[in-house]
């Protein structure tokens, strides 16, 4: 298992290099001089020349790229063109907010999604099942920004019980977390339902029932435990996706997260911040995927056994 984890961590290196290359290239090729964005249209040609020189923008592409990678390895993600602050500091200041928002959203979506999915499966074609399937479809289809604005109008303006923007108190997290969790919740619910339906029809479940086991135990201990693997996959994928996709929610609710930082940086071609932010997100997503795989191994002994080093033949022979 340790070897597997180490191997996966090493595999992250080419992934991150690929992310840097793609992001760097896209920022390099996108039209517009950063100097014009940063200095404004009152800037003279001389001002622009000074800016380009200070930020090594006159170097050829590969030299700029190699310099950037060399610094990134040491943790130096460059200096923001606009704030003149180290990019790493800016990213680290914003990342916890996005991470917290994502974690809250995933917890909410898992608790509600799994619960509802189980109920839907157990009461297939029942009243609750039908309602939840419609809600799940709406959840998957609803644009995030629209949902956010509707929740603001309902809870902040009409009911006046929750604030509409910022993150200065615990109440500020509720609406953004609900908004961000809607699509993963729907996906989780549908996967749970589908996975549970498959399991509760299995023979071992019928056997458990016929042995007189309580229905709750049959569903939660026997069926759910075997249905959980695809759910973990969906949750893991959504968690990783939400890390990068929280920008819309952050903009609607004025949450100062990493997504908003990246979007704002793109609009002024603040390349160091864009590259640093995306690199950080890629790093986080890679770890989340690794974490998902580890959970897999913990939950399913069949998966775990693939990572256990086989015992040597002498020991096996002696035992035999």
């Amino acid at each position: 298992m340790k070897r597997y984890i180490l191997g996966r961590i090493l595999m992250m290196i080419p992934v991150l290099l690929g992310v840097i290359l793609i992001t760097f290239t896209m920022m390099y090729l996108s039209p517009g001089e950063p100097a014009r964005f940063v200095l404004g249209d009152m800037a003279t040609e001389e001002d622009i020349a000074i800016f380009n020189e200070e930020n090594n923008l006159n170097d050829p592409f590969f030299i700029q790229f190699v310099k950037y990678v060399g610094k990134a390895i040491t943790g130096d993600l460059g200096i923001s063109y606009t704030t003149k602050q180290p990019v790493l500091d800016e990213v680290l200041a914003r990342f916890p907010t996005t991470f917290k928002l994502t974690v809250l959203s995933i917890i909410f979506s898992v608790i509600i999604g799994v619960t509802v999915g189980i109920i839907s499966a157990v009461k297939q074609y029942g009243f609750i099942d039908n309602i939840m399937r419609v809600i799940a479809m709406l959840g998957v289809s609803m644009p995030t920004f629209w949902e956010g604005l509707m929740l603001i109008i309902l809870f902040s303006v009409v009911l006046g019980i929750l604030p509409s923007s910022g993150i200065t108190s615990w109440k500020h997290w509720i609406l953004p977390a609900i908004t961000l969790s809607t699509q993963p919740l729907a996906a989780c619910m549908r996967m749970t339902r589908s996975s549970m339906l498959e399991e509760i029809r299995q023979d071992y479940v019928r056997t458990a029932r016929s042995k007189g086991q309580k229905e709750f135990l049959v569903v939660m201990i026997h069926a759910f435990r075997n249905a959980i693997l695809p759910i973990i996959t969906v949750v893991g994928v959504n968690f990783a996706r939400m890390m990068g996709g929280a920008a819309v929610v952050e903009i609607v609710f004025s949450v100062p997260g990493l997504g908003k930082l990246i979007v704002d940086a793109i609009s002024v071609k603040n390349a160091p911040v864009v590259q640093g932010g995306i690199l950080f997100v890629a790093f986080a997503m890679s770890f989340i995927n690794l974490f998902t795989d580890i959970i897999y191994a913990l939950v399913d002994p069949r998966v775990r056994s693939q990572y256990i080093r086989p015992r040597n033949k002498k020991t096996v022979a002696k035992e035999v």
Binding site: P31, F51, R94, S156, I161, T168, S254, P256, S267
Partner: protein
């Protein structure tokens, strides 16, 4: 079977009801319920005149820094206005007044003597001195963002006489100097504090002479200010100010609706009615320095014939354009800049005459018109203007393809060239309004008119009050009117959303110079 069918019908009905209830929020006026920042309901009803100790203001963007030397947009100026002062200031009537100066005297064309007010301290308790002014000007001259604004100062030949008296020498007569020194860039700060904090940290805090000082900056969320106990003037009536950054205009209005803010800068035109309808809030609106103009590149071959340029302006119905693009919020203008700026002259109105326009196009050799690109920056307002102009030009055969992109992107894609563009300007001094016609200021009009270049430079050398100034301005305006390189068409008002519980709010054409000292907000 019947049971299944029945439950499905009920499910469908409930789903529809759910959708309807979700859409309820889209219509009708919201019933206002007052909440504070933590989301708890406040008691309502009592006419209690107890003043709050904090005013909450909404702005549209977080400043990248509050280092005056790095100021290149108004997001920075909004904050520096609270924590710094300049040698000069602009009052609410747009008049230049003394700020940190006791007095000044223009001794000759290139020599100005300044006297600082005595006893002024920074927020850290240290004294303001002439050395700080020199240090700040030197930094401005070294900053890529600001150096073009302060090149006129010849620091090498300028003299510090004592802590409160100094003489600045200019490379040449420079009439706009007072106005330049009244902007955020002209803010005066402590040299010692800057050297102690360093470049990076200085941009995130303040050691100035302004009525407030920065106590906390929550990145991405808000800046918190508190009263500067060393302030040289009348202490501000409210102890604390919170400035929250909310990018979305709708979200700013929602903050007002929930009562979570007291003042909002930057209310959009189409939100004015909505803010006025919020119980407990009103709009403060007035003339601003922001004006809109469409520009024709002075280097574009199609526009070299003045008859073409004339035709393009005659084909525009200005009143209809302003009404359609802004729902009547903006004001049509007839000068080459915002009317509020001293020196902007009212010019003869360019009539709306499609037939005359067609005739001129034919005379210029374009009876069938031609095709051009009309560039605008990404903004609903600009796009609406472009669409209206596009339809008006179509009547004289000009097919305008609207291109929406950030300016820097557009210039990069087109090698720095453009054909026609709609831009806005925001300057409080006439030379800065007319700078767009200069060749060295390439991005606006791609100027190539030597006469204009010389005349605009000459204008800067005539100080206010000099009769030559009026003569030069008249010549420039007559020339611009004849040449028609541009067509300024409207002035967009400055609009604030203000709580009825705020007293002492005095409208200012620019939020970067607004005076917060008398603001009081009651519970």
């Amino acid at each position: 079977m019947l049971k299944v069918k029945k439950s499905k019908i009920i499910s469908l009905v409930l789903a529809v009801l759910l959708m309807i209830s979700a859409l309820v929020g889209c219509t009708g006026s919201p019933e206002k319920t007052e909440v504070d920042n933590s989301g708890q309901n406040l008691s309502s009803g009592a006419e209690d005149k107890k003043a709050k100790d904090t005013i909450t203001i909404l702005v549209k963007a977080e400043p990248t820094t509050i280092d005056p030397a790095q100021q290149n947009n108004e997001d920075i100026g909004l904050i520096t206005n609270f924590v710094y002062d300049g040698l000069f200031d602009l009052n609410e009537k747009g008049e230049l007044v003394l700020g940190l100066l006791e007095d000044y005297e223009i001794e000759d064309d290139i020599t100005v003597r300044f006297k600082l007010k005595e006893g002024i301290k920074y927020s850290d308790g240290t004294d303001l001195t002439s050395k700080d002014v020199f240090f700040d000007i030197k930094r401005l001259q070294e900053s890529p963002v600001s150096q073009s604004h302060y090149r006129f100062v010849d620091l090498g030949n300028s003299v510090i006489e004592d802590d409160h008296n100094f003489v600045l020498k200019f490379h040449q007569a420079w009439a706009p100097f007072q106005n330049i020194m009244s902007t955020g860039r002209g803010s005066i700060y402590s040299q010692a504090a800057f050297e102690a904090l360093g470049d990076e940290r200085f941009g995130r805090t303040s050691v100035g002479t302004g009525p407030y000082k920065v106590v906390n900056w929550i990145s991405g969320t808000q800046i918190e200010l508190t009263r500067n106990e060393h302030y040289w003037g009348e202490p501000p009536k409210t102890k604390n100010i919170i400035i929250k950054f909310i990018g979305e205009p709708t979200a700013r209005v929602i903050e007002l609706e929930t009562g979570a803010a007291d003042i909002s800068y930057y209310i959009e035109g189409n939100d004015i009615e909505r803010v006025n309808s919020i119980d407990g809030y009103h709009i403060e609106q007035g003339d601003s320095y922001r004006y809109f103009t469409f520009l024709m590149s002075m280097q574009e071959p199609l526009f070299q014939d003045v008859r073409v340029r004339e035709a393009m302006t005659l084909a525009i119905n200005k009143e209809a354009l302003v009404r359609a693009a802004t729902n009547g919020v903006a004001t049509p203008i007839n000068g080459y800049g915002p009317p509020l700026v001293e020196g902007v002259m009212e010019m003869p109105e360019i009539p709306y005459d499609v037939e005359k326009a067609k005739q001129l196009m034919a005379e210029a050799g374009y009876p069938q018109g031609f095709e051009i690109e009309l560039h605008v920056v990404p903004s609903t307002l600009f796009q609406r203007q472009a669409e209206v102009i596009q339809s008006m030009w179509a009547e004289i055969g000009i097919k305008a393809n609207i291109v929406v992109s950030p300016l820097a992107t557009y210039e990069a894609q087109n090698g720095g060239k453009f054909q026609a563009s709609i831009r806005d300007g925001n300057a409080s001094e006439i030379s800065n309004v007319l700078i767009i016609y200069e060749s060295s200021f390439g991005s606006r009009l791609q100027g190539n008119d030597d006469w204009l270049d010389e005349k605009l430079l000459e204008l800067r050398t005539y100080y206010y009050g000099d009769p030559q100034r009026e003569i030069a301005l008249k010549e420039i305006y007559d020339y611009l009117h004849e040449k028609r390189y541009s067509y300024p068409f409207m002035m967009m008002p400055t609009v604030y959303g203000v709580s009825d519980k705020v007293e002492g709010f005095i409208f200012h054409p620019t939020a970067m110079n607004i005076n917060p000292n008398n603001w009081v907000v009651y519970e």
